[in-house]
């Protein structure tokens, strides 16, 4: 197929920018997912996002806000169910994640026009992102990072010991709710970039890779941003080179960086 060189560059520039913006927010937010042992929560939210996509299109809009509200509602439901105390969070997340995924898949399948696009909802369609979406994602990144900076110390304290944080005057519930909303915000805007199945990996893998070289929580967040961005660039190059899907290529790149990091001596540990 003959595609103009300039066209390709435009696509790739948009894709790279969008990917990097997502990675910049996903890294630090993902650090807290791994610190709080909440990887499965990331999955639940991203699976809910698929339900959000389906619902949005059923209502005739592709707005990320519908996705975000859906994700936020599922998080709220999780908080409510946790209060009952009968089922462990793990079990509840398993129920919510897969139910949301199934509902999303069914709603999407019910709409003839969308059926062919199913794969893109799952792994993203980064090369089809236009400049408006790039700008939307950029704003999302600024908001997500700003919000995280605002709750940083409180959330870290809650992560270390919830009761201690509360006694010391941290508003634990508000901190956790804001964090969940930030995750929902990120996931809603990242759907197009990396899809419902893969977005958690862009939160978890760069964060885990950053742990190899980080000496403080702040450093780990910073390195996860760099590693995530590198993964995006590497992934898009791989995708372009070998004509393989971009989303999975980005995840694979992150994995490679993680493994390289494992091989490095850990300066932090004595």
């Amino acid at each position: 197929m003959a595609r103009g060189a300039i066209m390709i560059d435009g696509f790739i520039l948009n894709a790279t920018l969008a990917g990097i913006f997502v990675a910049l927010a996903a890294g630090p937010l993902g650090c807290f997912l791994v610190w709080r042992r909440m990887a499965y929560f990331g999955d639940t939210i991203s699976h809910s996002a698929l339900m959000g996509v389906g619902l949005g299109i059923a209502f005739g809009t592709a707005s990320p806000w519908v996705i975000m509200v859906t994700c936020a509602l599922v998080s709220g439901l999780l908080l409510l169910l946790q209060r009952g105390g009968k089922f462990s969070t793990d079990t509840l997340l398993g129920i919510l994640a897969h139910s949301a995924l199934s509902i999303g898949l069914i709603i999407i399948a019910l709409q003839e026009s969308l059926r062919q696009d199913m794969m893109f909802f799952l792994i993203g369609d980064i090369l089809a992102i236009d400049i408006q979406s790039v700008m939307g994602i950029g704003i999302m990144t600024v908001v997500a990072l700003g919000g995280l900076a605002y709750i940083w110390k409180s959330l870290l304290s809650v992560t270390v010991h919830e009761d201690l944080a509360q006694v010391e005057g941290v508003n634990v519930l508000a901190t956790k709710v804001i964090y969940m909303l930030l995750i929902a915000l990120l996931v809603a805007f990242a759907m197009k970039v990396i899809g419902a199945l893969l977005i958690t990996s862009l939160m978890i893998i760069p964060a885990a890779a950053a742990r190899n070289i980080a000496r403080s929580p702040f450093h780990m967040a910073l390195y996860s941003m760099i590693i995530g961005s590198l993964s995006v660039v590497m992934g898009i190059m791989m995708s372009n080179q070998w004509d393989i899907p971009a989303g999975p290529s980005i995840v694979l790149s992150a994995l490679i960086l993680f493994l390289v990091g494992r091989g490095l001596p850990n300066r932090f540990r004595i």
């Binding site: 791994v34 270390v160 929580p217």
Partner: protein, 258 residues
């Protein structure tokens, strides 16, 4: 009027129908060290959580003096290996604290040498002192300690209890703590509360040791306490916080032990 920092009045709590606490009342005042003792499952931690405002009682009142700041030392803390956190970073998490304060407190509990170490890599005894440091930050009016000397060797235990007494003397704060080890408790405490879902007995350590409920609850263990207190007496006379003067009849055997 009694200037209490915190007061519980007839606090009751049940977990899914099972009574955990029945009409528990006590208070902690400025400059006072109050120790909760009792067997496992007696509700000590639950009482502490209610005092801290982490749990709401079903019935009864919890009154805190307005605007008091509380330092809390939880029983155990597990920090995931994946979180790279140095001792100094951990202490800096206390809201409103700063570097000089952290340095000062680390000096006080003698953990300056591990300041840059990851919290996961220090010994159990050092961790207890780090947690103690966190509780002392920000000059709290009330310090609440859940088994402060757990996992600390005997020498270290004595040092920590001594430190608690010293902080109380210097800052005139109140102290509420849970303890398992009766030995140390009896020496440095102003008021002992014997808890077994309800308050069995409470009062000065000297009086409480003669209380039949106390003996019923702790049996043989209570004998060993008197022995130990005697030992403690020798070492800490100069501090003046040793109370046990009327248990003198029990220390004969203790001298052998020493």
């Amino acid at each position: 009027m009694n200037s209490f920092l915190i007061e519980l009045e007839k606090v009751c709590l049940a977990f899914s129908g099972r009574e955990v606490l029945e009409e528990v009342s006590f208070s902690v005042s400025r400059g006072e060290i109050v120790t909760l003792i009792g067997p496992n499952g007696a509700g000590k931690s639950t009482v502490m959580k209610i005092a801290l405002g982490l749990l709401e009682p079903d019935k009864g009142q919890v009154r805190r003096a307005s605007e008091i700041s509380i330092g809390y030392m939880p029983q155990r803390i597990t920090i995931e290996d994946i979180l790279p956190l140095s001792v100094r970073d951990f202490l800096m998490l206390r809201p409103g604290t700063d570097q000089p304060q952290v340095d000062e407190v680390m000096e006080l509990v003698r953990i300056t040498h591990v300041a840059a170490s990851p919290v996961q890599r220090i010994s159990g005894g050092e961790m207890q002192r780090v947690l103690m440091a966190r509780a002392l930050l920000g000059n709290p009016d009330l310090i609440v300690l859940d088994e402060p000397v757990q996992g600390v060797n005997i020498g270290g235990q004595e040092e920590l209890y001594h430190l608690i007494g010293k902080v109380r003397d210097e800052k005139n704060c109140g102290v509420l703590m849970i303890s398992h080890d009766l030995h140390m408790v009896m020496a440095g405490t102003d008021k002992v509360i014997c808890l077994n879902r309800h308050i069995c007995c409470s009062g000065e350590p000297g009086n409480i040791q003669d209380h039949p409920e106390y003996h019923a609850l702790f049996g043989q263990q209570s004998e060993a306490v008197a022995l130990y207190t005697h030992h403690h007496d020798h070492h800490h006379d100069s501090h003046g916080d040793v109370v046990l003067d009327d248990s003198g009849d029990k220390h004969g055997a203790g001298c052998d032990h020493d």
